[in-house]
């Protein structure tokens, strides 16, 4: 039996904080309630503290989402809370409450247990607009609203429908939006409100039902004369609150909360929302129809409730709320970055995406290069940011800035490296001034000149190329693909892969690291490099590191290439074919780490039964948000960016990887760090972009048929 943890954060008072557990469809649920006394700050702090420990947050008594006149109104603070970055679902039970309450109400009316003809009073109709609207339309003149009192402090009870009620409600909602929640409640005890209480009680005398949920009702403290002798309609269960409400002496209590979901004496829609979402494995908020599936009302009831629960448009008020929050975020919450990362325009087309430059799309092609050179003279821009990278292990959060150089790779190659150094050094200073503690170099910026050494020397904060994690992620991707291809078996005795891996250019820095890594996982590893003496040295070193695997050496790859199940090439051979693609074994996975690439698109086309990959991209841990387009699908980021973020998470501000060489210890270290903090492999980059699972499957079936044909012909 699995246990789910739900933290219920109630926006209301903390008197009623409690902890309890219950079981539902074979799962155990552990709930603790935290009351925050109307403090948005505290809600955020709690979410930050607990998001690593719990499976869901149930947010109750939040400023409500109100559906009025087919438009949605939301309070600014609600948006602020629900917009919190969080890797577990934030459940507030809104959709569920609307559908379920109406459903229960219709049932109760049909069975004669509730007869709204006797009059229903809503102390705050705003908090249950769907119920109020349904009753108002079905029983005109029998619904009374106390919002003027509870929200504005005026001792008035409005008998609905009155002309102009809708306009008044909308106005009130817009005004309420500007105030913080606390000031809108009867908790703000002015003398006028105190006097108003008794006036209200006398006005309510001829009404039989009072509809308000416990949390709001209890805010009135002892001044709830209007409940005495009435039938109280509520929609949550809380033992302590029920006991407290008995002091107000209602005639009876009608609970709209569905009995079949009362798993514990303490239950409300937020917790039910979290429970159902966890059981059904849904993280996103559910739509009305999905809730209907779960609650399963009768079709005609479904039809009836829809008009009160489905909204078509966002109200102006909600838009304003969004706007206020956005401005607030920009003005107040620009987080100090922990790291910075430098990227550049990958092509001429990228430059045209800059607002205003789109007009130049029709420019004759011959002007493209001069234009790119011209644009590259401009200083670097802040392209975007990476936010809320949260370590799985320590819960520490880091944020980063992404700087963009407006230079295409072609310009960078042609340009004097000194010019590029100067530009990147400027970025380093700017980042340091903004509070960043480490800078990562992306794409071509780490290849230019001496690969970062000069930049690091002149920068006020450490600079890293991120190559250690790039190498590590690439081999990680190779292992993943070999596993997915499922053509080679694992040896059950040693746990090693029962096949041969081959490294071409094994004595180079990337080659060495790859060879060592592969020797740890493959039964047989073949090292290929032009000089035999250096090969022998390496082979001896690897035999010590991985005594269980067999190490071969060769100076020519072509002889033995037909046996390799996995192949890593890390050469720097310009315009010279190191290996003939036709000689490769069907189903071989090739990892091309050479720059320029050893295999081109033509090669890939010639051998569809061989999978050629270039590099692995990763996913950052936590609810990471990237505000700009890095040219990768979804939330994936370059491994070198992830290395920079990881160093910031670890607090290890040093130029971890520098120059063209990479070190075995560092590759191993950063891989461990990545696993510890929760970095995951996201996508595998091939010659034609991202390699999908479908592609792998296709390659596998082709390879299998070729292998079969081969063995058949023998």
């Amino acid at each position: 039996m699995s246990t789910f943890r739900i933290a219920e954060i109630s926006f209301g008072r903390s008197h009623w904080d409690d902890s309890f557990s219950y079981e539902y469809v074979g799962h155990r649920f552990e709930v603790q309630r935290f009351g925050v006394n109307f403090s948005v700050d505290l809600v955020k702090k709690l979410i930050q503290n607990l998001r690593m420990d719990v499976d869901a947050f149930a947010l109750s008594s939040l400023p409500p989402v109100i559906k009025l006149d087919e438009k949605t109104y939301v309070h600014r603070q609600y948006l602020e809370i629900m917009g919190m970055p969080c890797s577990v679902p934030l459940c507030d039970g809104t959709g569920l409450r609307e559908i379920s309450n109406l459903n229960s109400m219709i049932k109760l009316i049909e069975s004669g247990k509730v007869s709204p003809e006797a009059g229903v009073f809503f102390p705050a109709a705003m908090l249950s607009a769907e119920l109020e609207e349904f009753l108002r339309r079905s029983y005109p003149g029998k619904v009374f609203i106390g919002d003027a009192y509870s929200m504005l402090g005026l001792p008035l009870m409005i008998q609905a429908p009155v002309p102009g009620l809708m306009a008044f409600s909308k106005l009130a909602l817009n005004v309420a939006n500007l105030k913080d929640m606390r000031n809108n409640t009867p908790l703000a005890e002015t003398q006028i409100q105190k006097m108003g209480r008794s006036v209200l009680a006398s006005q309510v005398e001829r009404v039989q039902y009072v509809a308000s949920d416990y949390p709001f009702l209890l805010l009135f403290d002892s001044a709830v004369e209007f409940v005495r002798g009435k039938d109280l309609i509520v929609w949550s269960h809380h033992p302590a609150a029920e006991k407290e409400a008995q002091k107000y002496a209602p005639r009876s209590v009608v609970n709209l909360f569905p009995e079949e979901y009362k798993m514990s004496p303490y239950m409300n829609y937020s917790i039910l929302d979290a429970t159902l979402r966890l059981v059904h494995g849904k993280t996103a908020p559910l739509s009305v129809s999905e809730w209907e599936e779960l609650i399963n009302p009768r079709p005609e009831v479904r039809q009836m409730t829809r008009q009160y629960t489905v909204s078509h448009r966002t109200s102006t008020q909600a838009k304003i709320s969004h706007g206020i929050n956005r401005v607030k975020n920009i003005l107040l919450r620009e987080k100090e970055p922990d790291f910075a990362f430098v990227v550049h325009a990958l092509s001429h087309r990228d430059l045209l995406r800059i607002p205003g430059l789109g007009l130049l799309r029709k420019m004759p092609q011959k002007f493209n290069d001069p234009f790119d050179r011209l644009v590259s003279k401009t200083p670097a821009i802040i392209y975007g940011s990476v936010q809320h990278v949260i370590s799985k292990e320590s819960g520490r959060e880091v944020n980063g800035l992404i700087y963009g150089l407006l230079s295409t790779p072609k310009v960078l190659k042609e340009e004097d490296p000194e010019v590029t150094y100067a530009k990147i050094e400027k970025i380093c200073y700017d980042a340091a001034n903004r509070g960043a503690k480490i800078v990562g170099l992306g794409a071509y910026t780490k290849v230019v000149g001496d690969a970062g050494v000069t930049i690091n020397r002149n920068s006020p904060i450490p600079v890293t190329t991120g190559n250690s994690l790039s190498a590590s992620a690439t081999l990680w991707a190779l292992a993943e693909v070999v596993k997915k291809m499922n053509l080679v078996k694992n040896d059950p005795n040693t746990g090693l892969v029962d096949g041969m891996a081959m490294v071409i250019g094994a004595t180079g820095s990337i080659g060495k690291v790859s060879a060592k890594l592969l020797a740890l996982t493959f039964k047989k590893v073949c090292l290929v490099a032009p000089r035999q003496n250096r090969l022998d040295e390496l082979a001896a070193e690897i035999r010590q590191l991985a005594p269980r695997s067999e190490i071969l050496t060769a100076t020519d790859a072509n002889e033995i290439a037909g046996q390799a199940d996995a192949l890593v090439t890390a050469t720097s051979a310009f315009d010279q074919k190191i290996i003939d693609v036709m000689r490769l074994k069907p189903g071989c996975v090739v990892c091309d780490c050479s720059r320029p690439l050893d295999f081109d698109k033509e090669d890939a086309k010639k051998r569809p039964d061989v999978l050629i990959i270039e590099s692995g991209e990763v996913l950052l841990p936590g609810p990471a948000q990237i505000t700009c387009d890095l040219g990768l699908p979804g939330k994936a980021v370059y491994a070198c960016l992830a290395e920079t973020a990881l160093l910031a998470l670890e607090g290890q501000f040093e130029s971890f990887t520098m120059g063209r060489d990479i070190e075995w210890n560092k590759v191993k270290g950063i891989y461990k760090m990545a696993r510890k903090h929760g970095v995951e492999l996201a996508a595998i980059q091939g010659h034609m972009g991202i390699v999908s699972d479908k592609e792998i499957e296709l390659t596998r079936s082709l390879a299998l048929s070729r292998l079969r044909a081969k063995s058949g012909s023998r």
């Binding site: 902890s19 309630r33 004496p265």
Partner: protein, 352 residues
Amino acid sequence: MPAQRPSCRRGLSPMGKIKILLTGGTGFLGKQVLPMLREFADVEVISRSETAEVRGDLTRWNAGLNLEALKKKKYDVFIHLAGLYDLAASHRDAFQQNVIATGTALKIARELQIPVFMNASSVAAAVNSPLKMVRPFDLNFSRPFPDPYSESKALAEQMIVNQSMHFKLCINMRLGVLVGDTVNGKIERIDGPYHAPQAFERIRKFIESFPSSFPLPGKKMNRLPLVPVDKAAEAVAGFAKWSQATEATGYQSFHITPKEGLITRDLYLKTLKQLFIPHRGITFVSRAPKTLLTKVSKWTVKFPEEQLNYLLMFPKYDSVSTCDILGEGWCPEFDSYEKSFWRGYNEYISNR
């Protein structure tokens, strides 16, 4: 669900000692309490520090503890001393460390089936009580609280009341204003009555040259509930012992305050004498609006507003029930430890 009260069990360890789980063992009070508890009990401290017996953090889910493993230890008493004592704390910090942490402490104590829960609260929790002689159970939420600290302490108490049926016995201890111990008066920061010498020092010249009796805020005969920290610690240890001997059940609340307390006039006069400030007597200003008094004190002598707020309005605290348990003379009055009070203050000032 019927409330399940853990049966009262004497889970004595081999040495015959009771087992106590303690939070806040590293604080001003906790440091004094710990050795006293260790005399008659096996004490394990929950703390964030690496050296703690039980490593945990009350702001995390279940304080990050392995409850299943801890359950086997069968503790007899849970003492919750951890909290934030800062009258000027923000709403967020006060609530997180006083309300939410108490909720988690209660949850842990319930899960571990510890029969006795003891909580250290503050007299500030009763700040809204309209009574002249405040009783240990008084809580009033119908008026707004003057600061987040008192509100958070009051809510934490209310939460314990609401959950007390899960324990055999809940003991709530409302501490008065803690001052240095009776032996050498050592303090860790300037707080409460220690603000008076600080303030006088700032306007020494002015008081010396003032032509008539010097006006000071406050009511002449108001009493400050000062408690030396070692005596407060003795009280906590005393209640822990009492919890094992008594037949009392349910929620019990006590004031850890002196019977009389120090009169405001005496505090001022003693302070002036201690600082060797010649003066022509003092006179009390109590008729002026409180806001004006606190603002003026803040601007002229940097006397923290929220501190003065309390100094101006301390009522009397009913400590009869405390004396019944701890004995009449458990808390000495100021005169008997005045020397060590000033020694501790001077030492703190000279080492700053």
